[in-house]
Point group: C2
């Protein structure tokens, strides 16, 4: 009888590897982490990482690949809302909430380091940012057409700037003194979009 | 007769080396740039970099060291201004203007990469950021005490956030399509500090 592969079990183990790898890469860096350490942290045998992933670079990419469907689902939830400013602020706040993951600041630095060495990784990250920027630009265009706000900048450029403000929350995070970045991100983007005094509506 | 060293000429040559190195590091990365290439680009003989600097890491640090006195002078010009919001916005805009240097985005990525390997570099960059944050926090405290604005966040935290927004302008820069980041930085920080409609005063 042929040996069968349980797809659920494959997905579970891949996920366990990606989760363990995120913590190790953030703490010890990409170069300072071995596949054997990742396997051990995921509760698997030493060489098993290479059963589930082609190489260590693929494990690193999977950390960022795994957020694409989550982000797509989140963007879909906000893109048709009537209050465009509130939708944009909520998208930015949801993305900024990822800073609360203790591995996030370390992974951000490793990501910038790895992007030069791995064009496939760059592609994944740019594609993820492009999708978020597209939905935000669409909300900006609709909100401007409806007279909800007048940011005074072209929607595409302004959408990228809103994502840059979210990136600022990652850069600003001090792992020794972690703070919830959401109130500052919310206040910043809200005031860019809404006349003061309308925030509480 | 002992050979004398002309201090002006030493300073000029160090500056030429630092300027040439900034362009090369941004384009080819720290690892991808040799001291001989730096010397050649500065119009000096191949080994002369090591006459002026202990090693390649010291050349890289000098790029960031050289902005400390410039920043100190700029901060001193703004710290006692009466209109605290305008002073903070002008400081942020001046720092963001450095994005206009075509080497800036490449150097920012190399900086994040090098910081782990060179504690002296980290010290320089943190000290530079600490001084800017201190002056901005002082202006925030004074502006809040005078009733000029009420940002709703602690001055120290808010000052670091303003600097993170400036950093976002560096990350957001697309070398293939460079844009002046100052209008977006100005609008963002202005609206965080001033009720809308007061920007034009």
């Amino acid at each position: 009888m042929a040996r069968t592969v349980d797809p659920n079990r494959v997905a579970e183990r891949r996920e366990a590897i990606v989760r363990a790898a995120g913590v190790l890469f953030a703490e010890h860096g990409y170069e300072g982490t071995t596949a054997a350490q990742i396997a051990r942290a995921a509760g698997l045998s030493s060489a098993s990482v290479f059963y589930y992933f082609a190489d260590k670079a693929a494990v690193f990419r999977a950390i960022f690949e795994s957020s694409i469907p989550e982000h797509a689902e989140m963007l879909a939830r906000h893109r048709d809302r009537e209050d465009c400013a509130a939708a944009i602020v909520d998208i930015a706040e949801t993305l900024a909430a990822e800073v609360l993951d203790p591995s996030a600041p370390g992974l951000m630095v490793e990501l910038l380091r790895r992007m030069d060495h791995d064009p496939a990784l760059t592609e994944i990250v740019l594609e993820d940012a492009r999708r978020s920027a597209e939905v935000i630009a669409e909300l900006l265009r609709r909100g401007m057409a409806d007279g909800q706000f007048e940011p005074g900048f072209a929607p595409e450029r302004f959408a990228r700037w809103i994502l840059a403000i979210v990136d600022a929350a990652f850069l600003n995070c001090d792992p020794a003194d972690p703070q919830d970045p959401r109130p500052l991100v919310r206040a910043t983007i809200c005031r860019l979009l809404c006349p003061l005094g309308m925030e509480a509506r």
